[in-house]
């Protein structure tokens, strides 16, 4: 297990390196600099700005100093907010993103697995069809469509929940964003779970367990559930990534102060330093989450470790 973890850790290093390099050079290819505003700056001012941010160094020098900065946790300066570095802004936004992200993750796993098990047990009966219909809605309705509908129904018409804002992290403020964020993943996880459980229930060892007189509930809990969970676990890595990118939309719609909003604002304002910093941060986070999920997977399924 330790050896596997070490090897898996080694493979993430080139992944991260390629990601950071690609992002860096794509952004440096950008036509025009970050200081080409509506009003042209005097050449001397521009040269000073470029010198201050190190933009007049040769590209390779910039690249290596950026790479060195990333290793030290320094993501460079933001070009529009002079008072906060990129890392500082991310540190401000991160807790909000992590809170709604992890809540949505837990909700998606719990509800997804539950719905999948129910669908498999009541296969081709009313409950299964009802769950399948709901899942289809979750798959087809994009989050930027569900969110305003929920806001309209629960926020304005029924007046049960606040339409947006952080509200000091009150639960009522979290319900809608977390639900919207989790919904597509509830759908995907329950689909995977249903399929896997149906397949596992056809296995010989389940017949043996039933034959030796165990009740259906015990068979499922003690024998069927664990092997049926493997496809769900392998989906969790990508899901963590989707949750992070999905939270960009959710944070924008519900007015939450997470990194997603910093990222979108930076992208729309062409703050290249901030865009690069947030993308690099997202990549690192997602690669690390993938690594954790893979390790969990290896722990569940010993065959993977070789």
């Amino acid at each position: 297990m330790l050896g596997y973890a070490f090897r898996r850790l080694l493979t993430t290093i080139p992944v991260l390196w390629i990601a950071i390099t690609a992002c860096f050079f794509i952004l440096r290819l950008a036509p025009g600099g970050p200081f080409d505003g509506e009003r042209p700056l005097p050449a001397a001012v521009k040269a000073n700005l470029a010198a201050y941010y190190g933009l007049d160094d040769p590209l390779l020098v910039q690249y290596f100093s950026y790479l060195g900065g990333v290793l030290r946790g320094d993501l460079g300066p933001s070009f529009t907010t002079a008072d906060f570095s990129v890392a500082e802004q991310i540190a401000i936004g991160l807790p909000y993103t992590l809170i709604i992200g992890s809540l949505a993750f837990v909700l998606a796993v719990v509800l997804g697995v539950l719905a999948g098990v129910l669908g498999a047990l009541y296969r081709d009966r009313v409950a299964d069809w009802a769950i399948a219909a709901l899942i289809l809605l979750g798959l087809v309705l994009p989050n930027f469509l569900i969110a305003p509908i929920l806001q309209l129904v629960f926020g304005l018409t029924l007046d049960w929940l606040p339409v947006g804002g952080w509200g000091g992290g009150a639960l009522t403020h979290l319900v809608m964003p977390v639900t919207v964020l989790a919904l597509p993943h509830i759908a995907r996880i329950s689909r995977l779970m249903r399929g896997a459980l149906i397949e596992v229930m056809n296995g010989q060892f389940i017949r043996t367990a039933t034959a030796k007189g165990l009740s259906r509930a015990t068979v499922i809990r003690r024998h069927a559930l664990k092997p049926a969970l493997t496809p769900v676990v392998s989906y969790l890595g990508p899901a963590a990534g989707y949750l992070l990118t999905g939270s960009i939309v959710v944070e924008t719609i519900f007015g939450l102060p997470g990194i997603g909003r910093y990222f979108i604002n930076a992208a729309l304002n062409r703050d290249y330093g901030m865009v690069l910093g947030t993308v690099v941060f997202y990549m690192v986070l997602i690669v690390i989450l993938n690594l954790l999920v893979d390790l969990l997977y290896a722990w569940l399924d010993p065959k993977v470790r070789t």
């Binding site: 992944v15 950008a30 930027f144 469509l145 305003p148 304005l156 979108i264 865009v275």
Partner: protein, 300 residues
């Protein structure tokens, strides 16, 4: 029912029956799938509406109607879907937006299929070190959230429709490459490939004439499953403001604009939303139907 009719059923018909081709069987199974057929009909209707519709609407998508700002939908006024804050006809704009979404889906899928098939077929056919290297490369890209790359590209090169097409296509080919590689690996062991090699065909010719045609089934299935994903990705990007620019629009852009005002002008959200959801649903049903039709293992 005559005995003749029994032969039409692909499950019971003897294997050696004449005129039986994989494609025809698949089509027969597809036709019996009610959800998939409904999806196909809906998709055709949307396609027709998006392509021919604009010739029949009395208004175009750019010109404001100075007598009708924020007009609610009505049949008498001529604005069936109503108008927006600038007096532009929503029906015309929705149809135009649907066309953009469909075009993105078609072009991006094509790009993804081409890159994926070529990449996967080469990796699978050549095998060995090259295969290892190519697949590691795919793994690396797989681990990265590609949507961020698309946003990055859109930030840099401006909101260019053609770039959007290419960017989405260039990033959606990974799964296709994996599927094609796996399929090629198993095809390579088969006798007819060996026969072709023994007959002196070059590797390029074998790949082109024998491998690629045999990949059609899985490629079609996976391409069909990719299309709704691409439509959703495009509307997601447009929603965030990285998609097409005025006066052109897309379903995602329309939904984003509708969301801002949907308390007072709800129709600006509902109509584009209905189009997008119908489109996604029908594409999803078609994709599932194709998978079930071609993949005979999972049935029963």
């Amino acid at each position: 029912m005559s005995a003749e009719a029994g032969y039409d059923d692909p499950d019971t018909r003897p294997l050696d029956s004449a005129r039986s081709t994989r494609g025809r069987d698949a089509w027969r199974r597809f036709r019996r799938n009610r959800a998939a057929m409904t999806g196909l009909v809906l998709l055709c209707l949307i396609l027709l509406a998006a392509c021919i519709g604009p010739f029949f609407t009395p208004f175009d998508n750019e010109t404001p109607d100075w007598s009708a700002f924020r007009a609610p939908p009505s049949l008498e006024g001529g604005h069936w879907f109503g108008t927006d804050q600038n007096g532009r006809d929503l029906l015309a704009r929705t149809l135009q937006g649907t066309r953009v979404s469909l075009a993105v889906a078609a072009v991006a899928t094509l790009v993804a299929v081409m890159i994926g098939v070529v990449f996967g077929a080469i990796a699978g056919y050549v095998g060995g070190r090259l295969d290892q290297a190519m697949m590691r490369f795919v793994d690396v890209l797989y681990a990265l959230p590609y949507i961020l790359f698309v946003i990055l590209l859109m930030v840099i090169f401006g909101r260019n429709v053609y770039l959007l097409f290419a960017a989405i296509g260039c990033l959606e080919w990974l799964t296709m490459a994996r599927i094609v590689r796996g399929q090629t690996l198993s095809l390579r062991q088969r006798e007819f490939i060996e026969a072709a090699r023994a007959a002196g065909l070059s590797s390029t010719a074998i790949v082109r004439r024998h491998i690629v045609p045999n990949l059609v089934g899985p490629v079609v299935i996976y391409a069909a499953l990719t299309v709704p994903e691409i439509v959703a990705t495009e509307s997601f990007l447009s929603y965030l403001g990285f998609g097409v620019q005025e006066p052109l629009t897309s379903l995602g852009t329309l939904i984003a604009e509708g969301t801002d005002v949907f308390e007072v002008l709800p129709w600006l959200l509902w109509f584009p939303a209905a189009f997008l959801v119908t489109l996604l649903l029908s594409l999803l049903f078609i994709g599932d139907g194709l998978r079930d039709a071609f993949d005979t293992r999972g049935r029963g």
